[in-house]
C-alpha cells in the first residue's frame, strides 16, 4: 500500500470533456483536462482502486489544455488491462502555478470488459400507450415493426412479443404493459410492470445488445417505468446507438446510462483519442406530442383522437434514409431529412412536429451498421 495522498482541492483544474471509460480495447486511458493557468508544468499521478501508485505522467501546457495518454503500464512494467482485476483507476492532477502547486482529484476512470459481440444486436421496445387512438394504416405499430425488421438485417434484435400460446410469465417488452390512468378498468398490475421492467433490463444488460430503440412515455430520468439510475446499474457495457422516442429523454441522464455521454457532437478524431468506438444518442428535448385529441367514434368504439401519419412516418423516413441498402445517409442527415420531408400537422406548433425536438449527442456521422462489429474497432 502506498502512502496516503494529500489533496488540495482546486478550481484551477477542470475537465469539461471527461470520459469515464478507459479505451475499449484496453490499450490506453486518456486525460483531457483544462487549467486556468497557461505556460505551466503538470503531472498526473495514477492509482489503482486500492490506492496503489501505478504511474506518473508529466508535461507542459502553453494554453491551459492538458492532454495525456497512459498506456495502462505501471512503473514496474506491469500491464493493467484486465478489467476483472483493475476495474477502475484514480488520478490526481497537479499544476505548478507561480503562486504554488494546485492539485485536483479527477473522477474515476472505469475499465470496461472488452466484450463487444461479433455483431451488435438491437433491443426494440415500446410502451403500450397508444392503443386508444386511430392511426393511418396502423403505422404507429408499423414503424416500430419496421425498426425491428431493419435491425434484423444489421445484427438481429432482442424483444419479447408473446403471441397466443406464448407465456408472458417472464414479462414482455413488445409492448411493455402500461397502466393507463385514463382507463382504470383496464387492469395492469404492478407485478406485471415489474416483470416487464426486469425483462427489458435483462435485454439491455446483455452485452450482445449495443443498439436500442424505444417508443413510449418517458422523462428526463426514465423511459416507461424504468429509471436512468436502474439502467445505469445493470448496463455495464457501452452502447453504439440509442434512440429514445419519448418526452424529455435528452434532458437528463439517460445518455449516460448507455455510456454515450452528452451533450456535444464529435468527429472521429475525438473517439480515436479516447479509444472509444463512435456512438450516437438521440432523445427529445422537452415534451413530445404524438396525437391530435378529439372525440371519434367508429362502429361503437370511442377513440381519444388520431395519431397524425407524420408521427410514425418520421421513422419510416429515417430508416429509409439511414438503411445502407437504401439511401445510406449518416444518422444526422437521415433524421433531419426524415423530419424535413413531412408536411405540417395542422393545429400543431412548429416545434411539436415530429423530429423537431430530437437532440443528438455523440457521433453525427454514424451509419446504420458501422462500428457495430467487434472487428470494426479499433
Amino acid at each position: 500500500m502506498s502512502d496516503p495522498v494529500t489533496i488540495t482541492v482546486s478550481n484551477a483544474i477542470y475537465y469539461p470533456q471527461w470520459e469515464e471509460a478507459v479505451g475499449e480495447a484496453a490499450t490506453n486511458a486518456t486525460f483531457f483536462l483544462k487549467t486556468v493557468f497557461a505556460d505551466v508544468d503538470w503531472q498526473i499521478d495514477i492509482y489503482d482502486a486500492n490506492s496503489n501508485f501505478l504511474q506518473r505522467l508529466t508535461g507542459h501546457t502553453d494554453d491551459g489544455l492538458i492532454e495525456a495518454d497512459w498506456n495502462l503500464i505501471d512503473t514496474n512494467s506491469v500491464a493493467h488491462t484486465n478489467a476483472d482485476v483493475d476495474a477502475e483507476f484514480n488520478a490526481f492532477v497537479t499544476v505548478e502555478a507561480l503562486a504554488g502547486p494546485a492539485t485536483k482529484k479527477t473522477p474515476k476512470q472505469k475499465q470496461l470488459k472488452n466484450d463487444w459481440p461479433a455483431h451488435g444486436m438491437w433491443t426494440i421496445a415500446y410502451l403500450d400507450y397508444f392503443k386508444h387512438f386511430y392511426s393511418d394504416n396502423n403505422d404507429m405499430q408499423g414503424h416500430i415493426n419496421t425498426f425491428a425488421i431493419t435491425a434484423a438485417k444489421y445484427g438481429g434484435y432482442l424483444l419479447w412479443y408473446p403471441q397466443p400460446g406464448d407465456t408472458n410469465d417472464i414479462g414482455q417488452t413488445y409492448p411493455l404493459r402500461y397502466a393507463n390512468p385514463k382507463y382504470t378498468n383496464e387492469v395492469v398490475t404492478t407485478a406485471q410492470i415489474l416483470k416487464d421492467n426486469a425483462l427489458l433490463k435483462s435485454m439491455l444488460a446483455d452485452t450482445n445488445s449495443r443498439n436500442f430503440f424505444y417508443r413510449g412515455h418517458g422523462g428526463a430520468q426514465q423511459i416507461g417505468y424504468v429509471s436512468a439510475n436502474e439502467l445505469a446499474k445493470v448496463i455495464k457495457h457501452r452502447y453504439r446507438f440509442v434512440l429514445l422516442q419519448a418526452c424529455n429523454t435528452a434532458d437528463g441522464d439517460l445518455d449516460k446510462a448507455f455510456q454515450i455521454n452528452g451533450p456535444g457532437e464529435y468527429d472521429l478524431s475525438y473517439y480515436q483519442k479516447h479509444g472509444h468506438r463512435p456512438a450516437t444518442f438521440l432523445g427529445n428535448h422537452g415534451l413530445s406530442a404524438f396525437a391530435r385529441g378529439g372525440a371519434e367514434v367508429i362502429n361503437g368504439v370511442p377513440y381519444d383522437g388520431r395519431i397524425p401519419w407524420q408521427v410514425p412516418y418520421l421513422y419510416y423516413n429515417f430508416l429509409f434514409y439511414w438503411d445502407a441498402d437504401l439511401m445510406g445517409w449518416d444518422v444526422y442527415f437521415a433524421m433531419a431529412q426524415a423530419s424535413l420531408d413531412l408536411p405540417a400537422i395542422t393545429g400543431w406548433s412548429y416545434e411539436d412536429h415530429p423530429g423537431r425536438r430530437l437532440r443528438l449527442f455523440g457521433y453525427p456521422y454514424l451509419h446504420i451498421d458501422e462500428f457495430n462489429h467487434q472487428a470494426d474497432w479499433p
Binding site: 420531408d341 405540417a344 395542422t346 393545429g347 423537431r356
Partner: protein, 420 residues
Amino acid sequence: MPFELLQITAQYSNAVLVAIMPYVSDFAKKLELPIPPPTIAQVARFGCSPRADHVGGRIILTNGHSFTFDGGAVVLYRSPQSYYSLQEPERVSEFYGPVKVKKAKAIQIAHQALSKLGYTDDELYLDRTPKVKPPPRSQGKRVARYLIEWIDPESATLGGMPLGRVSVEVDASTGQIHMLGIQTKKAQRPNPKIDVHPPVISGPPKSQSVGGGIQMHHVGKAYEHAFLTAILPQVSDFIAKAGVDIKTPIVTNDVDMPHYECWWEKNEGTLVVLYLKTGDRFVYRHGQVIEFDAADAERWVAPNSPHEDKPPEKFYGPVKVSEKEALAVVMKAIKQLDYPTQIPALKKRPEIVPPRKDGTNYFARYYFNWWPADKGIQIAVAEVDATTGKLKSLYINDRANPQIWRSPPKIDVPMNPATN
C-alpha cells in the same frame, strides 16, 4: 404524401439506374472529380429506392465513390477519402496533411461547386455565412479537411438539429471536394421518367384503429330518441354559452337522424354523436357536450370515421383577426361553460398556433392547445377562424379530466339492445 411501397424487380431497378446514371456522370463532371466518367459498367452496387415517392437510390462505384440520387438530383456524394464518411478509424492517419487551403478559399470552392450544379444562392441559403469546421486535430496532427455547412435559417429546431442543410467537405491540402450533401425540400428537381411500373406492395394508408378499444352497445331506438330529447336543451345551452353561430333552441327536427348515434357501456356511460342537418357536429359524453365542430371546421369529423386531413385550400383566407382577439373568443366560451373552475389548467395561457403561411396563402385558422404535463394529448383544443373570428371547434378532453363528469339525464325508457 404517405407513400406506396414498390416491389423492386430487376427491370425496375435497371430502369431507374439507367435513368439516373446521366445525372451521376454530369455531377462528377461538374465537380471535376478525379475519376473516369461514371458508367453503368462501373457500378458495384445499386440500392434502388422501393418508395414510389422517391425515385432513385444509392450507387456505389467499383472505385468506392458513392452517389445518392433523390428528388431529381444527386443529393449526396461521398468519396473514399471523405473523412466525414470514414468508418475505419485505422485510416485516420491517411487524412493528416498540411493545411494549404485557407478557410475563405474552401468556402469559395464549396460555393462554386453548388453553383455549378445549378443551385441558386436563394435555394440553398448560400448567401448566408456558412458554419465552418476547421481541420480537426488528431494525435498532434491536422486532419486536412474543412466541413462547410450552410443552414436554412427557417429550419432551426428546439432539439438543435437544423433540418435544411448543405454540407461540403473540402480537402484542406488540395481543395478537392470529398463529400457533398444537400438536405432540403426547397431545391428538389423533377424526377426522371421511369417507364417500368413494378407491382405496388402496399398502397396509401387507410385509417384504422391501433388497438382494441372499448366496444360500446346500441341502446335501442326508443331509448335513443328519449335520450336525444333529454339532452337537446344541454346542446342548446352549450351553443348559447360558447357563442357559436347556430340558431337555438335545437329541436329534434334540426338533427340529422340517419347519422345520430347513441351508445352505452357500463364503464363509459352513454355516448352520443350528433350531427345537425347543417353538418355541425356535437359529441356528448359523461353528461355534457365535450366536442363541437362546425361543419366547416378543419377539426370536423365525418360520421363513423376518424379525422381525415382536408385539402388546405379549403381553409385559405385573409387573417383579419388578431391572436389576442381569437384567444378572447375561446376564453370567453370556456369561461361561460364554466370549465376553468373545474379544470385549473385552462386558466393558463394555451399554446397558440397561428395561421401558417402556405406559399402566398394563409391557412386561416388559429389553434389553441392546452397540453398536460406529459404533452401526449391535449387537455383541450379550440379552433378559431382567422378571417371571421368565429369559434369553429372546441374539444374538452373528458377522459383526461374526470372531475368534469356529470350525470346524464335520467331516461324512463329501458335500454333494449335486442331491438337493434
